[in-house]
């Protein structure tokens, strides 16, 4: 629950309602039933004898399932309710609702039960941007179903509402005349099914007509299998168990099939705005979760390789070899009002694809997949040199070619004001943010290993390594701000000067390994300084900078995912205590959100608010926030593949005396990682 809202979801199908189970969405409010980026139901209101209901409690049974316990009337009137209502909602290709009314009276009850329904077929981008619909709607009643339809030229979407027993439908809902004897109950099942209608009558996903009462996918069994396959956590710090379970379950909730009903899954980015395929988010989440749920990485590599760019297309900011940024399914994508079919405007996903491929092999030993994706990895590495060096200075930079609807900032901080000088000025384009160079370095170093060990091309490996070393030397010269002792946020492609703001991006440089050893200490001191470290985590932008705003999306908030990669970087350079401090702050913050970290929280100093203030429109659950605790478990235990073994080198926060992750899947089969040295199968190096 968030702000009184209740969400049930399954990948990119989700329902957001109030605590009664009702929704009455306004055009700019992301409540209702969403499916593949379109709102398929915007109004759903239950009444009994014309009265709305009042919630007694809400039970989030599972992520896809909610029970609402209600009584008729408003709060002031229900004192001795003779009726109670249970509304049991399950999301699965739409949703199904079991409505049960219990008569507690010693007299029979005759009731008029009504569910008001309506649909605006808003594209998620219509809601974000407050756009009006361009097509026409029509409602019909056919074969005992209420069907809402929307059409714009050949674009057709429908929502069908069916009931398990005969009901009285009208164009605005369904009514039941109900008689319940004393101490008896009545129930009905309603099913809401979205339909995407394509040429030739071929229908997408929900191929059959909805029919309430038919069996649904065994989602409970699927979740149980998912949880059983995940490693087991043990710790003397109890909140960590809740955080861990929350993460594993939310990862299950966020899984979706990017190819419309295919039986494989990868993480969608975040509820409600980003329940779709994002290259960057999928890759970073896969990296975070590799020691726990490696199948997400396998699917991510497969899907992103499948959609790897091979054209030059300005509208989509596509180049050969480029990994996609975002794939959308709604009306704005269909009519090219947005470039998301797919959109390629990201400068980091392509090198990160190579990073993930290598890291995936290191954990899983899945050499076949590495050979299978050789062509894709080579194309990605080629993109770095041939297409991403827009300034001709040997660095990845970005400048959108789609000036209307493309993204200005094509790094993870993609809001308009995220990249600035210390004095607040915005740099020109192309922009070469620092972390992109770190990713490029890492991609080349890892590509070199893959070329030597799997692609039988040591010469290519040598060349990549030489290029990486050259990049590292140049980077440490060109980005290092000598008098401030940190790396510039970016190089300004217009003026050529260093964009000198102090930002969390320098933490990613530690992760990638591009930082010279002699400079690491200064970088770490900045990251842990009061200007950057809030007590909960490292701020996106230091509080000393002009554009700093503790509630600015990318200019002062603390992002759990960002911090998890910074912690990884700190471990890489031997700063175990600092990594543990980051882990401690972020995990403490999670305890304020029932174990579920939001996308971002405010950058206020911890000792000022005592509470991590959630960013106003933050997504939750969000994939890479869900993955953050998992990566922090890895960094706290110092888990690393070492040959065919799992090496462990713990560095725990002060309040955690014991931590173990048992049954870590990998090339070793299953192994235990723990701070206790007597664990079998683990190659303990503490």
């Amino acid at each position: 629950m968030n702000g009184g809202q209740v969400t049930s979801l399954d990948g990119n199908t989700f329902v957001v309602s109030d605590s009664r189970g009702d929704f009455e969405a306004s055009p700019v409010d992301p409540t209702g039933l969403f499916y593949y980026d379109t709102r398929f139901l915007s109004r759903w209101v239950l009444s009994i004898d014309g009265q709305r209901l009042t919630p007694l409690s809400v039970d989030d049974v599972e992520y896809f399932e909610t029970r609402f316990f209600l009584v008729p009337g408003t709060a002031a009137l229900y004192v001795d309710a003779q009726l109670s209502v249970i509304r049991h909602r399950r999301v699965c290709d739409g949703f199904r609702e079991d409505l049960t009314i219990l008569n507690h009276d010693n007299k029979p009850a005759d009731l008029r039960v009504r569910v008001e329904a309506g649909c605006d077929f808003a594209d998620i981008f219509d809601i974000k941007n407050g756009q009006a619909k361009k097509g026409t709607s029509a409602t019909r009643i056919e074969d005992g179903r209420l069907v809402f339809g929307y059409r714009r030229e050949s674009f057709r979407r429908e929502t069908a509402i069916a009931t398990a027993a005969p009901a009285q439908f009208d164009e605005h809902g369904v009514t039941f005349a109900v008689h319940i004897d004393p101490d008896q109950e009545w129930s009905i099942q309603l099913e809401v099914t979205p339909r995407i209608i394509v040429r030739g009558g071929y229908r997408w996903a929900s191929a059959s007509m909805p029919q309430a009462g038919k069996p649904v996918r065994d989602m409970a069994g699927d979740l149980q299998a998912w949880r059983s396959a995940a490693p087991r956590l043990e710790s003397d710090w109890d909140p960590l168990k809740e955080i861990y379970q929350r993460s594993i379950i939310d990862l299950a909730a966020l899984r979706y099939s990017p190819s419309f009903g295919q039986p494989y899954h990868m993480p969608a980015a975040g509820l409600p705005w980003f329940m779709t395929l994002f290259g960057r988010d999928s890759i970073l989440t896969s990296l975070q979760t590799l020691p726990f749920t490696p199948e997400l990485a396998a699917t991510t590599l497969q899907v992103l390789a499948r959609w790897q760019g091979n054209h030059t297309d300005d509208f989509r900011d596509e180049d050969p070899g480029r990994i996609l940024h975002e794939l959308r399914y709604g009306e704005t994508a269909a009519f090219l009002e947005q470039p998301h079919t797919p959109y390629y405007g990201t400068a980091d996903a392509t090198p990160l694809f190579v990073v993930l491929l290598d890291e995936y092999e290191r954990w899983t030993g899945d050499a076949d997949r590495v050979r299978h994706f050789e062509r894709h990895a080579r194309a990605a590495l080629r993109w770095i040199d041939d297409y991403a060096d827009l300034s001709g200075n040997g660095y990845i930079s970005y400048k959108r070619r789609n000036e209307q609807t493309g993204l200005e900032n094509q790094c993870w901080k993609d809001s308009w004001d995220s990249i600035s000088y210390r004095d607040g000025r915005l740099p020109g384009f192309p922009r070469a943010t620092c972390e992109l160079q770190g990713y490029a370095y890492d991609a080349k170093m890892r590509g070199a290993r893959l070329a030597r060990e799997f692609w039988n091309d040591p010469e290519y490996g040598d060349r990549l390594e030489r290029e990486a070393e050259d990049l590292k030397a140049r980077f440490n010269r060109d980005y290092w701000i000598e008098d401030r002792q940190y790396y510039a946020l970016a190089l300004d492609g217009h003026s050529g000067s260093q964009v000198d703001a102090l930002s969390s991006n320098i933490g990613h440089l530690l992760w990638s390994g591009i930082v010279e050893e002699s400079k690491a200490n200064a970088v770490v001191e900045h990251l842990m300084s009061p200007a950057m470290y809030s007590g909960w985590g490292v701020r996106t932008l230091a509080s000393s900078e002009d554009r700093y705003n503790p509630v600015g999306y990318h200019v002062g908030t603390v992002w759990p995912f960002d911090n998890s990669f910074i912690a990884w970087g700190l471990r890489r350079y031997g700063y175990g205590q600092e990594a543990a401090r980051i882990a401690s702050g972020i995990l403490d913050a999670a305890t304020f959100f029932n174990g579920r970290l939001p996308e971002a929280f405010a950058g206020y100093p911890r000792d000022r608010t005592k509470y991590p203030v959630q960013y106003p429109t933050a997504c939750s659950p969000q994939a890479w926030s869900t993955g953050a605790p998992l990566l922090l478990l890895r960094t706290m235990l110092g888990m690393e593949p070492s040959g065919d073994n799992l090496a462990v080198n713990p560095s725990l926060p002060g309040h955690i005396d014991h931590l173990g992750v048992l049954g870590v899947p990998g090339r070793w089969g299953r192994a235990d990682a723990s701070d206790r040295v007597d664990v079998e199968d683990a190659d303990v190096t503490c």
Binding site: R156, D385, Y387, L390, R401
Partner: protein
């Protein structure tokens, strides 16, 4: 004079192998509708090796794409996005919808005159 669609399939048949679909396997059948007439083409992809057959309306396929001939003529000229057309309901796909990504890779991009030259493009090669 051959239509753009015929040119497209003829070129694929002559190439015989397309690196952009290496490691991929699948039979893609196309029903190209032009008023009362429907043209049938079959693309068989086997790890980059391509064979093309025509007039095989009943051939087994992993995915059957049903589309107006005029739209397909535009798509094979790089003027039209198949994914967007699918979302608009202009392309029917029966079978494995994943293969739409394979089709997209075989289609040309937008004509060069409509795209900006990318700095450094082609200056090095991997």
């Amino acid at each position: 004079m051959a239509s753009p669609t015929e040119d497209f399939f003829d070129t694929l048949a002559r190439r015989g192998h397309a690196t952009e679909v290496e490691h991929e396997h699948g039979r893609l059948r196309f029903e190209l509708v032009d008023g009362p007439c429907t043209d049938h083409w079959l693309l068989n992809i086997d790890d980059g090796d391509i064979t093309v057959s025509r007039d095989v309306p009943d051939a087994d396929a992993d995915a059957v794409f049903s589309v107006d001939r005029g739209l397909f003529d535009l798509a094979v000229a790089g003027q039209g996005n198949v994914v967007a057309a699918y979302l608009r309901g202009e392309v029917g796909v029966k079978g494995n919808l994943d293969l739409i990504a394979t089709l997209v890779r075989l289609l040309p991009g937008p004509p060069p005159s409509s795209v900006t030259q990318v700095a450094g493009e082609g200056s090095r090669s991997g």
